[in-house]
């Protein structure tokens, strides 16, 4: 091993990063589900009538956020996946 300063070499950064990206991809839907179910917790607080606009804006904002997150992940994830990227995670 070369005598380099900085982060230790036992961690192969590139593949580690890739595996964490896969983990992120796995977790994203759950995050989305949690965020999208939040409106359920709001209704008791506000008067139902005026909540619609706010809820609509919130929902659509989360929606767009999910789309963008998925876009970012999909571009970084390995192309032509084979089984090995799975198992190593």
């Amino acid at each position: 091993m070369s005598a380099r300063r900085g982060p230790s070499l036992y961690l192969a950064r590139q593949s580690y990063r890739r595996r964490r990206l896969i983990d992120a991809a796995r977790l994203l839907p759950f995050l989305g589900a949690v965020l999208l179910l939040l409106p359920l917790l709001w209704t008791p607080e506000d008067t139902p009538e005026s909540a619609t606009a706010r809820q609509a804006l919130y929902v659509f904002a989360v929606w767009l956020g999910l789309v963008v997150a998925a876009l970012l992940l999909a571009r970084r994830l390995p192309r032509g996946e084979d089984g090995r990227t799975d198992e190593a995670g």
Binding site: L28, P48, V67
Partner: protein, 914 residues
């Protein structure tokens, strides 16, 4: 106002355009030229078939009635696609690896290729899809009605029906034309998929156009819309938690389980990497489609008169503001939405119907009729076309039966709950190896039944399918089984109630069924293949490796067919494709022909396995391997049979050689015998001839000379006669054709007779005979004549050859072990040891023949006689003189007629004598 004619014209032009697109793409795909088909964009757009006329029209109506809840229908799929790494990726990989052709095919294949499951899934899908098709037809009819009535809000019913009919016919035509052109091994329809993608663009553009118009032209921008929403409170727009969560979940399930979604997501997928793009692009599409739904609904509710159908705001709003072109665009958008759904759903269901119901039935009938399967492709294609027609006809019937129901949304969601029943079997199948057919069938059946009972049948209206009494009080008065309040759960929204109970029972039955039942071997293997699909060889490619594949195929073909035949085949194929001088493209047609050609040499299963390994991104399936193993086993059996046969042949050849050897020996023996006989016969004949010549020629012979010579001649003839008699006797004895006659007699009498007869031999010698009369008293049951002959011979030999001065002969009989033994011992010099074995041979004489006066056959004849009597004669050495022992059983053994084998006679004698 848009004139009806213009509308129809626009419609027809649009449809013609779609036909053109589909046709062009099909042609390009068949020639392998459609590289742009592999763009992820087409795949993503084709997924938009999820957004049917329900989205286009019904979503606005839904929003107008229930506020934000409409978004759940699109949020569910968003979550599933964003989380593609979990489920969709595995489904697509399995679909490509196993060459799955439909959701029924996947479930059936996973659980051991069970056709029963395929049938259940097909029927369930049919029940769920038919209302949905009716829904599309209704939307189109309604949208036409908006334009024909002259006023935005009304329609005339007869027109609606005929319109729907014409549309149905047109859809059937399109689907048959492009869905059943030929049988693609992958069940992919690039032409249709591209047409759907075009329609997706039209849909999006239309809805966005109307949305933009409403938000910026009618209202004052987004802020104004928000103000309007907040201004007029609508309590019915409040989010119900149960429905919000439940419907999101339901829509998420539906995007996986809907047959049409499975078709475009899994079956029509050409490259797995497209899924990564679709994971964000499709949610984006859904986002854009949903963005303006609420604004349109809000503005519509404010602007349009009371009682106007909110479902049609997308059309009626532009018309209300005299935006004819926009309205027509919107109409085309809705038209696209409806037609794309019907086409894909019809293809998906026709595949399922023909693969799992029609073809098995047809094959069973054909087998019973005893006919061969012939060219199946025509039958399959015909079955597909028929299924498509049946599907659309059913949809039309449902539409006319229930036509005019107010809320389109209801039907759609009911269909969603129906297909949701596939979920446990599907997801369990791809993640849990222990899921079995029994569990899947139990779950599907139970879920189906509950869906029918609690949701589908009641949806026809009160009292139509399920009597009112049952609805309110339960069947047979059992309150706990009320269709919409099962097990005492009252007050739950009927949709959610049915969803909950059907999935609970479905999943429970699936789990319990899988836990208690055993899978079949095929199920086990399929389970491993499906669940561990990512461990299998990866590298699933699209079509892109044409040249490499063709080369590999050529190498393989050369190995099987030989270089010349393979090359000429490939050259011919390339010429047919118009690619003279190059390698042919690996089109499905070419691959099929190649497989068939190879199958002629190595068997169908092996050929398929070889080709699939090179061309397909598929793993060779279990069944292929089992078929290959069968073929190999057959070949091995055949070659072992051949080996056995050739061993037999070698053995037979050996036996023939041995027999030939023996026959050669025997013929040599016969030759020796014949030469000896002729020698023996010639000697007396020479004397006879000589002396008769003298008698004839010599003139005056003295009388005593004449007498002497005549005596000599006479003696010689007697000798000859005796020799011939002996020969005949011996031959008869040896061939076993002698007829012995057993009679009761006594040994003493035999010996008396023998002594009396033998006295005529050498009568001048005075023999002293020592006998033992008491011992001689033995009762016998044998051929006494022959036995006496033996005794005579021995005694005569003694008289002839015993050279003692005072010759004596002892006769000593005894009984030992049930056999009688008689010893004849004289006091001469006996027989020298060297010649002991020769004396029983034919023609052997130990002394000068003339003096002995015999032919040398005597002892040979004795031996043959004794063998025939079941006994033996032997020489006893060391007795002081010549000693012969004659032994024989008291009872002569039964004669076996026709037996030439002396050994066989001895054997039977040994067995029966005791």
């Amino acid at each position: 106002m848009v004139p009806f004619n213009v509308l129809v014209l626009a419609c027809l032009a649009y449809v013609a355009f779609l036909f053109l697109v589909a046709f062009a793409v099909e042609r390009a795909a068949a020639q392998g030229r459609a590289r742009w088909l592999r763009a992820p964009l087409v795949y993503t757009l084709s997924l938009s078939v999820y957004c049917t006329a329900w989205t286009f029209y019904g979503a606005v109506g839904y929003a107008a009635r229930s506020g934000l809840e409409f978004a759940t229908i699109y949020l569910g799929p968003t979550l599933i696609f964003v989380g593609w790494w979990w489920i969709l990726r595995k489904l697509v990989r399995i679909g490509r690896a196993q060459r799955v052709t439909s959701i029924a095919d996947l479930i059936s294949a996973r659980y051991g290729k069970s056709n029963m499951l395929g049938v259940i899934v097909t029927i369930l899908a049919l029940c769920a899809t038919t209302p949905y098709i009716a829904l599309q037809l209704q939307s189109i009819a309604l949208s036409f009605g908006v334009f024909t009535a002259g006023t935005p809000a009304g329609w005339t019913v007869p027109d609606a029906d005929t319109t729907a009919l014409w549309v149905a016919v047109g859809l059937a035509l399109f689907t048959i034309l492009f869905g059943t052109r030929h049988l693609d091994a992958n069940e992919q329809h690039p032409g249709v998929v591209t047409a759907i993608a075009v329609e997706a663009v039209v849909k999006l553009v239309a809805l966005l156009a109307v949305g933009v118009f409403v938000v910026w032209a009618v209202a004052g921008g987004p802020g104004d819309i928000i103000a309007r929403i907040e201004a007029a409170p609508r309590p019915e727009w409040a989010i119900e938690p149960g429905r919000w969560a439940g419907l999101t979940f339901l829509a998420a399930v539906a995007i996986i389980c809907l047959p049409r979604m499975f078709q475009v997501t899994v079956v029509e997928n050409v490259d797995e990497r497209h899924l990564a793009t679709a994971s964000w692009a499709f949610p984006l599409y859904l986002f854009l489609m949903s963005l303006f739904v609420m604004p349109i609904a809000v503005v519509g509710l404010e602007v349009m008169p009371e009682g106007s159908n909110p479902d049609l705001f997308v059309l009626t709003l532009p018309l209300a503001f005299d935006q004819g072109a926009l309205a027509m665009l919107a109409f085309l958008g809705g038209f696209s939405a409806a037609t794309s759904m019907v086409i894909i759903a019809a293809i998906a269901l026709a595949t399922m119907l023909s693969n799992h119901i029609v073809m098995p039935l047809w094959l069973a009938l054909a087998r019973r009729r005893g006919g061969g399967s012939g060219d199946m492709r025509h039958v399959v294609l015909r079955a597909r076309r028929l299924s498509i027609i049946v599907m659309i006809v059913l949809g039309y019937i449902y539409y006319s039966f229930t036509g005019g129901t107010a809320a389109l949304a209801a039907i759609g969601l009911i269909a969603f709950v129906g297909v949701a029943q596939f979920l446990p079997a599907l997801i369990g199948g791809i993640f849990w190896r222990a899921a079995t057919r029994v569990g899947a069938a139990a779950g599907l059946g139970l879920g189906f039944a509950i869906w029918l009972y609690a949701l589908f049948l009641p949806s026809f209206g009160a009292g139509v399918m399920i009597p009112d009494a049952v609805m309110t009080q339960g069947p047979f008065g059992i309150g706990w089984l009320r269709p919409q309040a099962l097990f005492g759960v009252e007050g739950m929204d009927p949709l959610l109630h049915a969803l909950f109970w059907s999935l609970v029972f479905n999943t429970s039955a699936f789990l319990i069924g899988s836990l208690v039942s055993f899978p079949t071997p095929v199920e086990r293997v399929q389970g491993a293949q499906f669940v561990n699909v990512f461990d299998m060889s990866g590298g699933t490619q699209g079509w892109g490796r044409s040249v490499g594949e063709a080369e590999d195929l050529l190498v393989t073909a050369q190995r099987v067919l030989g270089a010349e035949a393979a090359q000429s085949f490939f050259q011919q194929a390339a010429a047919d494709q118009g690619k003279d001088g190059f390698l042919p493209d690996t089109t499905p047609d070419f691959i099929e022909r190649l497989e068939r050609r190879l199958a002629g040499s190595v068997g169908a299963a092996t050929a398929h396995a070889m080709v699939a390994q090179i061309v397909g991104s598929s793993v060779v399936t279990t069944e292929d391997l089992m078929a290959v193993a069968d073929e190999t086993a057959q070949i091995m059996e055949y070659s072992s049979q051949l080996e056995a046969k050739s061993e037999e042949l070698a053995r037979t050849a050996r036996q023939l050689r041995e027999v030939n050897h023996k026959l050669t020996e025997l013929s040599e023996q016969k030759d020796a015998f014949l030469s000896q006989i002729s020698h023996e016969l010639r000697t007396p004949m020479t004397s006879i001839r000589a002396f008769s010549e003298i008698l004839r020629d010599a003139g005056g012979l003295p009388a005593e000379d004449q007498h002497k010579y005549a005596t000599i001649i006479h003696d010689e003839t007697i000798r000859l006669t005796r020799l011939l008699d002996d020969l005949l006797d011996l031959s008869v004895l040896e061939s076993g054709r002698v007829r012995l006659q057993a009679e009761e007699d006594n040994l003493s009498r035999l010996i008396e007779r023998a002594l009396g007869a033998a006295n005529s031999t050498a009568p001048e010698r005075d023999f002293v005979i020592h006998r033992d009369p008491p011992e001689e008293d033995i009762a016998l049951h044998t051929d006494s004549g022959r036995l006496t002959q033996v005794f005579i011979n021995i005694i005569a030999n003694a008289r002839k050859y015993c050279d003692a001065a005072e010759p004596e002969l002892w006769i000593k009989p005894r009984v030992r072990d049930g056999r009688v033994e008689v010893d004849f011992v004289d006091n001469g010099t006996g027989i020298p040891q060297k010649q002991e074995s020769l004396i029983f041979e034919k023609f052997s004489r130990l002394t000068d023949q003339a003096r002995a006066g015999g032919a040398g056959l005597g002892l040979a004849i004795c031996r043959e006689i004794m063998l025939n009597l079941g006994g033996d004669i032997a020489y006893l050495p060391g007795q002081g003189g010549a000693a012969f022992r004659v032994s024989f059983p008291r009872e002569m053994p039964a004669q076996t007629p026709d037996s030439d084998d002396v050994e066989a006679q001895e054997a039977t004698g040994a067995v029966s004598a005791s």
